[in-house]
């Protein structure tokens, strides 16, 4: 995760790598999230100008998709699957456990961590599943969750 919120030059390069095609907006936004962690108002203005779209159009797309956050995330992003297969294996309890151990509510962030629901990681034969910083973990008991979080805490 990067700490840089926005860099105009880097943003222009990302847009250019998609040949400034308006139909690549969703893909470009992914590039922004990878680079900056979130989509700022500056980013939206730049996208509108570069892709010849209205700011409302860009804002509409940004706000439509779960993947594009408009506030800076914590250093680590923890997503806990809330869909049926994981529910059948205790994801509700795991979510409560995560909120308690990380000290942050679902859908919210602190400096260290952002905790979010996700609806299916496609790891339904290894439920409950969790994704941390883009890596998927399966068969996540409360104990295993603590171990994974601790190991990530050590390396960062």
């Amino acid at each position: 995760m990067t700490t840089e919120t926005f860099n105009r030059q880097a943003a222009i390069e990302i847009i250019a790598s998609f040949e400034s095609r308006a139909e690549m907006l969703v893909q470009i936004l992914h590039g922004f999230v990878v680079r900056f962690g979130w989509v700022s108002e500056d980013a939206i203005r730049l996208l509108a100008a570069e892709l010849n779209l209205s700011r409302a159009e860009v804002h509409g797309v940004v706000s439509y998709y779960h993947d594009f956050r408009t506030t800076p995330p914590g250093k680590h992003i923890v997503k806990i699957c809330q869909a049926e297969a994981c529910q059948a294996m205790g994801s509700r309890e795991l979510s409560t456990h995560a909120e308690e151990t990380l000290g942050v509510d679902m859908h919210s962030s602190n400096e260290e961590v952002t905790l979010e629901p996700v609806y299916c990681l496609g790891n339904c034969a290894c439920s409950p599943a969790v994704m941390i910083d883009g890596k998927t973990y399966g068969r996540v008991s409360a104990g295993r969750f603590n171990d994974i979080v601790a190991s990530i805490g050590e390396t960062s």
């Binding site: 969703v26 509409g60 797309v61 049926e84 994981c86 059948a88 609806y119 339904c124």
Partner: protein
């Protein structure tokens, strides 16, 4: 002496339970023991409950070790892993694993078997053979073959693929597209992912055959963003295919041009609906379009477009190789061929089982799945994702057949089977169905956007014991409205799981604990 081949899956589920660490440790131990190994990162065979499933090739035979942890590897090497010797983790020859041998592997037969990113390995296992045959047969004969097979859309809707292809082939237009729907958002489903990670070149070949059949020169894969590993594997496979002349202009001197672009979804469930997916691929909000016009007539960028699910497309190469009649000889009634059933949730042996239609839920859950993971009785089975009904225990003998499931108010969908034991509170599940619809609704039509939010409220009142009978009637009426008046399956089918709970688990409304506890 030649290096000993060792297979460790590079597949999301296997890695989610430690396969990468196991691979690293195997390489380290081999070095320590001074052994020369060739470490191949294959896809998964689909026996997910055994992951990480490691194999070693001894006398041309693959010997499997299951549930291997990195901490087991040193011990395995000491016990003679590289010569397939006994160890607590040793299962035996892969081809003798009962879970795998009793399947009808028509579409997924290369998954686990090959190195997914090696064109050579792919070619050795019939790779591009169907495409070459398609070139010889001609486009019309390819479409005829798909029609004869009776193949229906595996994404859930079950529309006959051959008819869709014919419509696109017949549509006027100089530019046509193949859009592969890899937005596998249904909970309990992962077969698209297993295919894309285990046989990405197979998907590429399938899209090329579709492109050749309908005269489309461009294909798109719309992949959900929750699959980052799949993305990296697909990206590499597309690059590899391009570099070896299997994508691009005048492919293998056939005169046929075809290339593929990968688009990522962005966490929206409804983008799995074909028209919402097309909108998203055009860089817009994933809002459902009115139909007609059908995407086959006016799809991506307004051009005739074949929108097919990953597994639908990937079923085609063997239909070309072995004939549509052969495929149609599998299955029952109008559900011909095979489906990759996915055993998920509270199940002892979760994974993917490709079987001909007609098998029952009970056979899958008991014979393959081994019952619940908790060892408790099965209470409900949700089939076909979040829009699928909860099937009670006494209906588990229903054969998996699109029409037979419709008859019991359920759906086969994409073949996801999510098992719940008797600790599940079904009123909570009904509430979740409405809540999920409220979260994921694209908002275009009122029954879905407003109905789902009202549905949550009504269920909450029922659970709280607030005028339970009146609210029951209201909920049924709300389900009718959503079902009849929604624009797409999101709002139109959310009532399915809700109704099934009302019908079979009504008592749970009086015993439900609060909303989200």
């Amino acid at each position: 002496m030649a290096a000993t081949k060792v297979y460790v899956p590079r597949e999301t589920a296997a890695i989610s339970v430690g396969a990468d660490d196991v691979a690293i440790e195997i390489a380290r131990q081999a070095k320590e023991f001074g052994e020369s190994i060739e470490l191949i990162r294959n896809g998964s065979w689909g026996a997910t409950w055994l992951e990480p499933l490691v194999e070693v090739v001894v006398d041309d035979k693959r010997i499997a070790y299951g549930n291997v942890e990195a901490s087991d590897v040193a011990d395995m090497f000491a016990a003679g892993f590289l010569t397939g010797d006994d160890h607590a983790r040793r299962i035996g020859p892969t081809i003798e694993i009962p879970y795998l041998i009793d399947q009808d592997r028509w579409t997924f037969w290369r998954c686990g078997l090959i190195d997914p990113l090696s064109i050579d390995d792919f070619r050795l296992h019939q790779g591009f053979k169907a495409l070459e045959k398609a070139f010889d047969m001609g486009a019309e004969a390819v479409i005829e073959s798909v029609k004869t097979s009776g193949l229906r859309g595996r994404g859930g809707a079950g529309f006959p693929a051959g008819i869709k292809w014919q419509t696109v082939a017949d549509a006027a237009g100089d530019q046509k597209y193949i859009a592969c729907n890899a937005d596998e958002g249904d909970s309990g489903t992962f077969s698209d992912r297993i295919l894309m990670e285990g046989d990405p070149l197979g998907l590429i070949e399938s899209m090329m055959i579709a492109g050749f059949a309908v005269a489309a020169s461009r294909g798109y894969i719309y992949l959900r963003s929750e699959y980052p590993l799949t993305r990296s594997i697909l990206t590499r496979a597309i690059t590899t295919a391009r570099e070896s002349g299997w994508l691009g202009e005048n492919i293998q001197d056939s005169g046929f041009d075809f290339d593929i672009e990968l688009h990522l979804g962005a966490g929206s469930y409804v983008c799995g609906e074909e028209t919402a997916m097309l909108e998203s691929m055009e860089g817009k909000q994933g809002i459902v379009r009115y139909k007609p016009p059908l995407p086959a007539i006016s799809g991506l960028f307004g051009k005739p477009t074949v929108v097919n699910n990953v597994v639908t497309l990937a079923s085609v190469p063997n239909i070309i190789n072995l004939g549509g009649e052969k495929y149609a000889s599998f299955g029952v009634n109008r559900s011909t061929g095979t489906l990759a059933f996915q055993l998920a949730g509270n199940i002892k042996r979760g994974g993917m089982v490709e079987k001909a239609f007609g098998i029952t839920l009970r056979e899958l859950i008991e014979d393959w799945g081994g019952g619940t993971a908790s060892g408790r009785p099965v209470k409900a089975v949700q089939v076909g994702g979040p829009l699928g009904a909860y099937v009670p225990e006494d209906q588990l003998d229903t054969p998996l057949d699109y029409e037979a499931f419709i008859e019991i108010g359920a759906m086969v969908g994409h073949g996801g089977i999510v098992v719940f034991d008797d600790t599940a509170n079904m009123a909570q599940q009904a509430r979740f169905a409405m809540e999920f619809c409220a979260i994921e609704s694209c908002g275009k039509c009122t029954p879905c956007r407003i109905g789902s939010a009202r549905g949550v409220e009504v269920i909450d009142r029922m659970v709280a014991g607030d005028e339970r009978e009146d609210n029951y009637d209201l909920l049924v009426e709300l389900c009718d409205t959503m079902e009849d008046a929604s624009l797409c399956a999101m709002g139109g089918m959310t009532p399915f799981p809700v109704r099934s709970v009302l019908k079979y688990y009504a008592e749970d409304f009086s015993s439900a604990v609060g909303a989200d506890e």
